[in-house]
Symmetry: C2
Amino acid sequence: MFDVFERYISAKAILTDQDLCLIRSLSVERKVAKREFVLREGEIARYIFFITRGMLRLLRTDDKGNEYILRFATENNWLSDRESYITGNPSNAYIDAIEDSQVLVWDKQDFHFLLKEIPALKQLMKELVGRSQIANQNRVFTTISGSAEEKYFRFIEKYPDTFNRVPLHMIASYIGVSRETLSRIRRHSVNK
Amino acid sequence: MFDVFERYISAKAILTDQDLCLIRSLSVERKVAKREFVLREGEIARYIFFITRGMLRLLRTDDKGNEYILRFATENNWLSDRESYITGNPSNAYIDAIEDSQVLVWDKQDFHFLLKEIPALKQLMKELVGRSQIANQNRVFTTISGSAEEKYFRFIEKYPDTFNRVPLHMIASYIGVSRETLSRIRRHSVNK
């Protein structure tokens, strides 16, 4: 499981064998079954996850229990509930697996230690934070602009792999369009 | 103008007089008239702004020329187009003033120098990046969940000051609801 991470990190940052060894020594390998939760609302996000196989999602629910997906995270991606992870407050989100998955897990304090010890890792995480800011800004733009149909086709264009791996109702709850509307769009596009 | 910034920064970080002097020496005070642009699509975002008076907005347009507001930034807030600022690529956004405003401006390279020289400033900016991640995640959730009416009332609750200062059509283009829908919601709520 760690070899997936090793390939990922070696392509992104220049690390010594000693760095890799330290990162590995503080990581825990974990299998997460489909539908299993690794974070629930009300818990404090004390861990950072790196997905080596499968797919996890970050989701929130509203007062009526409707689910909204904030992120899909596939292989070679990091995931945590940033709000709870940063503030130490109880999370208002959930993280669960959409597919049988494998993840590497670091405790927040251990990860903090790694960032202090390994400048190249710190630099990489800083770059990823910058990229997530950009992605979030684009996500906001995509969500407030365009019709439901445009949102759906933009999703397919941007995330063809995810599109093929998740059920339609999850795409609906990611782009903020009702299932009914999305089913209608799909029927129309098939008929065209 | 700098005294506004000095009060802000002194409440957030422990800086020496020398730090403040250095920050000031690299800042430029600028007045921005209502409707004046400080960043246009296609330009590279080379500056970071701190608003000492008034209000600026970050906006993007779609292919049809419709405007979408990504951020309102009032007094005591920082603003830049993060994507262009970080990547150095031409911006796909605009920044203009909604009210006659006053801002402090730092060149990206100068600001980078300040972050290197003043650890307390670097720490503060890191915290602000964390907070902006959280705010963005919440913005995404707010945007994909709830009805148009809920989005409108959530905006009023969360940003009462901004609500009182900007025209309705700008709120519509921030929350991602059409003007017509928002006008209808407003008429209904007045009649209640």
